[in-house]
């Protein structure tokens, strides 16, 4: 059994009178892929935004366990959640630095480490060797990821010129360059063709097994969800209606109801 990585307990989020998430509790584990599914408007992206600090939750606790330390995510600022607690995310509408090259995108993701090595630019200005070593290491890591994605040839071209599928994968690689403990993916398979979708599955499995981190993903593509998830949490109207292994969830009558609607009374 893997270790507990993220513990969401009694999370709620209200926007004025609208309750987007109500009393949501679930757990995500290290070295597992946890899928967060549900119909449109169920509150999945809101969970992500609470988790990564873009929203302050109205109530509840979000606890991240990382190498023996615990972080109360609901009290932290968004950039500290990413840098200190190690929660990286991608966006539903891809947010790459489109005017910068692929390599630069991956180097910017290692900003915290490089900034420390450059001693807030002073050592960097004079090109001291600790900084140059750190920069070399950062480039090596970026090169590694570009190799994995098969995009090494395009390292020095701008990210905005990539195809849709490649942009998705580059955004995942960029998130991975921050050395996260938990990677949150918001609809990574949206808009991908079956071939790209299969490549994405392989990439996500590789991240789980080789980088040994936990993944949390929002996805509508059931082939992806059922194919790679270790655990599925189903939301509907901000409430959790099911939580378990993919095959358990698929058979759950509440899930079927949420997706397909209430069967008419009297119908078999």
């Amino acid at each position: 059994m893997s270790n507990m990585l993220l513990d969401v307990s009694h999370l709620s989020m209200r926007f004025g009178g609208l309750s987007a998430i109500a009393d949501l509790s679930f757990t995500a584990y290290d070295r597992e892929i946890t899928a967060l599914i549900g119909p449109n408007g169920a509150g999945k992206t809101t969970v992500f935004n609470c988790l990564t600090g873009f929203y302050k939750p109205s109530g509840g606790k979000l606890t991240l366990h990382r190498s023996g330390k615990t972080f109360a995510l609901e009290t932290m600022e968004d950039h500290r959640i990413a840098r200190v607690a190690g929660v990286a995310r991608t966006f539903q509408n891809i947010r790459l630095f489109a005017g910068m090259t692929l390599l630069e995108n991956l180097i910017v993701a290692q900003h915290g480490e490089l900034m420390r090595a450059s001693m807030f630019s002073i050592a960097g200005l004079f090109g001291f060797s600790p900084y140059r070593r750190a920069e070399k290491a950062a480039v090596a890591k970026a090169r590694d990821w570009l190799d994995k994605l098969g995009l090494i040839e395009r390292a020095d071209t701008v990210a905005g010129g990539l195809s849709y599928g490649d942009r998705r994968r580059l955004e995942i690689a960029r998130a991975m360059c921050t050395d996260p403990a938990l990677l949150c993916l918001d609809e990574p398979a949206a808009g991908l063709n079956p071939h790209e979708s299969a490549a994405l599955n392989d990439l996500l499995r590789a991240i789980r097994d080789e980088q040994k981190i936990g993944l949390l993903l929002i996805e509508h593509d059931m082939k992806v969800v059922m194919g790679i998830s270790d655990r599925v949490v189903v939301l509907d109207h901000g409430h959790k209606i099911a939580d378990g292994r993919p095959d358990e969830v698929r058979a759950d009558p509440a899930v079927v109801r949420a997706y397909l609607g209430e069967p008419e009374t009297g119908a078999p």
């Binding site: 600090g53 500290r80 840098r83 947010r95 910068m100 450059s118 200005l125 480039v139 090494i152």
Partner: protein, 436 residues
């Protein structure tokens, strides 16, 4: 018309000219001109025998409307005859930009040699060297503002505020506290940086238009402060007798003050006022080169990449653990510091500063240099600074049309080359060798 162009963007053949719609449009334009011209041109306040009265000149209104009609018609004909082209498409400047990019080192070297040799060239009179100093001050300011606008993408309409803080800091430190040029210069830069950070705090949450308006206000506040804080800035009278910089204790005067040696005595050459101008030229050249190296270096550091990342997408920056507060404040602070250096040099060169020198027009000029040159392009800033300083100088008799020329130039640039004269972004680091 626009849908037609969008449907066939690649069509090169001239569009046909539909005379009737064109006539109709010209007529409508003329009507608008007529309505506008009646109050603006049609009436005139005349003074006679101490009383004011209203005189009309409706002939002029007719002329104005007629001119607009003909102008609109001619424009339509011209547009119809010209092949349509995509906005931001190829232009004759592209090969120039490409050449500059490919041979950046050679171009920079030629520029450097030319700049170093400038005062020694046969046509370089004192006035021409002085003009070159003005150009270099604007180049410095352009490079400084480029950090804020070009790299970090924070539109700053009040950059002159930092220029003013630098200049006044220098003037006060040098004349009231007796610091020399080389001592007061870094302090003025730091004070300007402080002003930049102070401005940065309240505008952290603002972007785009909102930020532009607040920075515009900040520029005006500094201007008003300079006018009214008489005990420190001496108000509208300005500060005079600002000490000139010396070269290792040598002064550039006809007669040395007690305890000093003059430059011409030291070298045993006859005194000439142009010695000081040439010296100032080399000082500002050295400062400008330092600013250039500094900003180029910063761009390749994590901080520079964070600025550019912030310009591209602030939310993504936060998701990657970059603290946008620090990134913005550092951009404001460093941009302001560079402006402060330029201001300090301006003060020592003029020997006299007053709030008159730090108006919104200056901010607009500096921003025009950055935008015209191409956001983020060091070379483009030089080119634009030369253009914008030289053009008004060449046509001194048209001085009052300076802003008009600016406006027209900006509109033309926006139409033909929205990315600026020499816009090109070189990656801050590469995996492979630069492509040939």
């Amino acid at each position: 018309m626009s849908t037609e162009a969008a449907a066939a963007p690649d069509r090169v053949a001239p569009r046909g000219i539909a005379i009737l719609p064109l006539l109709k449009e010209s007529f409508l334009t003329a009507i608008v001109a007529l309505v506008l011209a009646i109050p603006l041109v049609g009436f005139r306040i005349v003074e006679s025998n101490g009383t004011t009265g209203l005189a009309t000149r409706f002939w002029w209104v007719g002329f104005a409307a007629g001119a607009v009609f003909l102008g609109r018609f001619a424009l339509g004909i011209w547009r119809g005859a010209m092949p349509p082209r995509a906005v931001g498409g190829a232009s004759w400047l592209d090969p120039v930009a490409r050449f500059g990019r490919r041979h950046a080192r050679i171009v920079a070297l030629i520029g450097l040699v030319a700049a170093l040799a400038w005062p020694a060239l046969p046509f370089a009179t004192r006035g021409i060297v002085d003009l070159a100093i003005s150009v270099l001050i604007y180049v410095m300011l352009g490079w400084g503002l480029n950090v804020v606008v070009g790299l970090a993408g924070l539109l700053d309409l009040g950059y002159v505020a930092f220029y003013a803080v630098g200049a006044y800091s220098f003037a006060i430190l040098a004349s009231d506290f007796g610091l020399t040029f080389w001592e007061a210069l870094p302090v003025s830069g730091l004070l300007a940086a402080l002003a930049g950070v102070l401005l940065g705090f309240p505008v952290l949450r603002l972007r785009g238009d909102y930020l532009a308006i607040v920075t515009l206000g900040f520029g005006e506040i500094i201007h008003i402060l300079l006018l009214n804080w008489g005990s420190l800035t001496r108000g509208p009278n300005g500060i005079g007798d600002i000490p000139r910089p010396g070269l290792f204790g040598l002064v550039f005067e006809r007669r040395a003050p007690p305890g000093f040696t003059t430059f011409h005595d030291f070298l045993g050459v006859p005194f000439s006022p142009s010695q000081r101008v040439v010296f100032l030229y080399y000082v500002v050249l050295a400062l400008a080169l330092m600013v250039n190296l500094f900003t180029l270096r910063l761009r390749r550091l994590p901080i520079g990449r964070a600025w550019e990342a912030l310009r591209e997408d602030e939310i993504a920056c936060r998701a990657l653990g970059i603290n946008p507060t620090n990134v913005k404040l550092s951009a404001f602070g460093i941009g302001a510091m560079l402006g402060g250096f330029a201001g300090a040099f301006f003060a020592t060169r003029q020997g006299f500063i007053s709030p008159e020198s730090f108006t919104f027009t200056e901010s607009a000029t500096i921003l025009a240099i950055v935008v015209l040159g191409g956001m983020g392009s060091q070379m483009g800033v030089v080119l634009a600074a030369i253009l914008l300083v030289l053009l008004p100088e060449l046509g001194r008799q048209f001085a009052e049309f300076r802003m008009l020329i600016f406006g027209a130039a900006m509109v033309l640039i926006m139409v033909w080359r929205p990315q600026g004269l020499l816009a090109h972004r070189a990656p801050s680091l590469r995996l492979g060798a630069p492509p040939r």
